[in-house]
Symmetry: C2
Subunit: 431 residues, 2 copies
């Protein structure tokens, strides 16, 4: 069985958010793509399996990126002096227009997929553009990569550049039907996700049509929520009858579980920097995931999402790179950014919300976001076997280090593709 094997090394994970779960020089066993557990001594019954001995390397669960825009990879780290709405209009929309051209899309998406394949991320929720065929092409490339993802053709029928705006709600819906029919059962690891860009870009009519599509196919939903003040003010004007932003998704049953009509729409909303108490309560009730994207929230001057508050409220949370609002695709960077912004929130805004500690942020990057994909994000029994093997030998140190120190250092100093010696996704070795 290709997907049954043992890996040996220094295994670092967070089974709970409150502490690191560390196993020096131990064995993680994978049977048919699923983890069996971590063992200090390899049980007799697994000694017949192939062994990958990574010696003194660090072995982490794969990182989960709950929010990333593939077409924005091309301009990451540029044009960062603007806030959200200006940034969208001046840089993002003009760049996304280019994906009408499949040749350009292939070149650009190839670079994106290559970077994600080589990095520490094993799973992602990805925005493409409004273009059906470029989105299918991205899905093909993602499937070839061996990574596991949800990919969304974006819906947007107002408030963007002419070239990027779909001609009508009907055309947007029609194109989406065509796209879903083409890809719904075509790939093993790459699935469609319904992707209304955000309320400012989606008419009521389009939202109604997306509700119908969701009901017809039962696919999950991703979008943006309560990211920046300018955006939220705009949504209030567009949707005066919704008491809060999230309610405008909920009204169309695109906001998690709805017991009234007995639906459970797996939903992830990016940002939630400024969610009101009512919005938070509805997210909790409906089981909506938050994709926390701290770098993006800093770069676009959106603010700091009060993650401790949301954790206290019992909301599902994972991390997102939000390329290109965020400039780095590294979820290690998202972990340290999460800790840093939580410290700033505590110190500068409200000291009743304690900063996140390292184990908590690592948990969000693995099991937190992993829950959107099922049992993902650790080496516990029956979890899908996603792992990255990191060689931290490139980082010199004069003193001896314990495993907790090495784990934290690898994340803070941002070990990257040059330090990844192997990578497994659901038990398949892709590097």
């Amino acid at each position: 069985m290709e997907k049954s094997f043992v890996v040996k090394g220094n295994i670092c994970q967070t089974v709970t958010s409150k502490k690191l779960d560390l196993h020096e020089n131990s064995f993680a066993v994978c049977i048919d793509g699923l983890s069996v557990g971590v063992f200090e001594d390899l049980p007799e019954e697994y000694t017949h399996l192939p062994l990958y001995d990574y010696k003194d390397a660090l072995i982490f669960p794969g990182m989960v990126d709950l929010h990333v825009h593939a077409p924005q990879y091309a301009f990451r780290g540029m044009c960062m002096d603007l806030e959200l709405m200006d940034w969208l209009n001046r840089y993002t929309f003009p760049e996304e227009e280019k994906y009408e051209d499949l040749e350009y899309a292939e070149k650009a998406y190839g670079m994106f997929v290559n970077a994600f394949k080589k990095g520490a991320t094993t799973r992602a929720c990805i925005f493409a553009t409004r273009h059906r065929y470029a989105t299918e092409l991205l899905m093909e490339l993602m499937e070839e990569s061996g990574l596991i993802s949800f990919v969304g053709k974006v819906n947007m029928d107002r408030e963007a550049s002419k070239a990027l705006t779909e001609d009508s709600a009907d055309i947007s819906a029609y194109t989406t039907f065509g796209w879903i029919n083409a890809v719904n059962n075509r790939f093993k690891n790459t699935k469609p996700i319904l992707t209304p860009r955000f309320i400012p870009c989606c008419t009521d009519k389009l939202m109604e049509e997306l509700r119908q599509i969701q009901m017809a196919y039962g696919i999950p939903v991703q979008s943006h929520l309560s990211e920046s003040k300018g955006e939220i003010d705009f949504v209030k004007i567009l949707r005066p009858n919704n008491s809060f932003y999230g309610d405008s998704y909920n009204e169309y049953d695109l906001f998690g579980k709805n017991d009234d009509i007995d639906t459970d729409v797996k939903t992830v909303m990016a940002h939630c920097v400024w969610s009101t108490d009512k919005e938070v309560e509805l997210m909790r009730k409906n089981g909506v995931f938050i994709a926390h994207c701290p770098a993006s929230n800093m770069n676009l001057t959106s603010g700091i999402a009060p993650i401790r508050k949301y954790l206290n409220a019992g909301i599902n949370i994972g991390l997102g790179s939000d390329i290109a609002g965020g400039h780095s695709e590294s979820i290690f960077r998202a972990i340290t950014d999460t800790i840093q912004v939580s410290k700033m929130y505590f110190r500068m805004v409200d000291d009743s919300f304690a900063p996140l500690v390292f184990s908590e942020a690592f948990y969000l990057a693995t099991k937190g976001g992993g829950a959107f994909f099922g049992k993902v994000g650790s080496f516990e029994k029956s979890y899908e076997f996603d792992a990255v093997v990191l060689d931290d030998g490139v980082l010199p140190h004069p003193q001896s280090l314990n495993l907790a120190e090495r784990m934290e250092r690898a994340v803070y100093l941002g070990l990257d593709e040059k330090n990844i010696t192997a990578k497994f996704v659901a038990g398949r070795k892709i590097i």
Copy 2:
């Protein structure tokens, strides 16, 4: 003349903080270590000089790190879940104790100096430890590297671990005399700087002795100021008669210019997160430099220094990595952190202070901090010729990019030693 030559490439600098000064495919001329200027066409009079043609590479002024602790390099990116005073007592002081052992110091400082030599930093203000001989060793290694620096043997005669606390103010002063006499004119590029750790670690008697030493030798001063709330509260208890923290340095004439006694003590103070208006006014009046260390201020939950406010007040400001409060030695990272925290201050704390834009933060990292060393930080006429040559060809992109985009991207994505193809310090090629 070894230090007279021409470099050719894409020259990127900030002559003023308000805009990028970009020269595609141009020539920067260095005569005897000093810049002559940047030319699109090489003037006839310089055509006889050796030419380094870096083709399509980016050429930046060298980065200036105004605040870094060499002995803390060993544990960067670790132990980041604590605030300043706990972090000092639990991790920093125990590590610094080891520098009594010269063998350990040589190993550890060797790693530090190697990292700085390879990176984009050309100049630095460095804290060593309280140990005289390890400090001399660090200075020897720095001199060999070709970098230009001020290095300080730390003074601390209270409130640290027993092994790290000097036995008395007299012994601290005596050791400092010995150290300065040994190094004061020994090196070309490596100079001593008086380094009282901070008020909590220095008795009044020691401060008085440091005043005498400063007056005797006229050397500059570096220390910490108004970094964290716990520290500031402690200083209030220790120094009840000073109306603000900075006044306790000023009382001993270790705080910049003092017209009353006609002294001008070149002084850099790290952090200034919580400086009061009176403290800011005195820094301005005395020409004290602030070393802004945003990563450290986040990691240690210190807060966000209101840099826009200080810029408006006309204070000299440069950037610091503050290894290991900051976890990265990259001043590129300090540039983007500076922008990000200024955006958070604007959004979450006080929207009367506009965020810094890219050109402003780049200016702080070059000419801002460079002013502490003289005419440093650009390729303007008569500036010391510090340059780093960066190959950004490793960063793929599907679209064409202009030079401003390439410059911003190189900084945000953190091009590092692997991308530095050449480096000049005061006209000397060290890589």
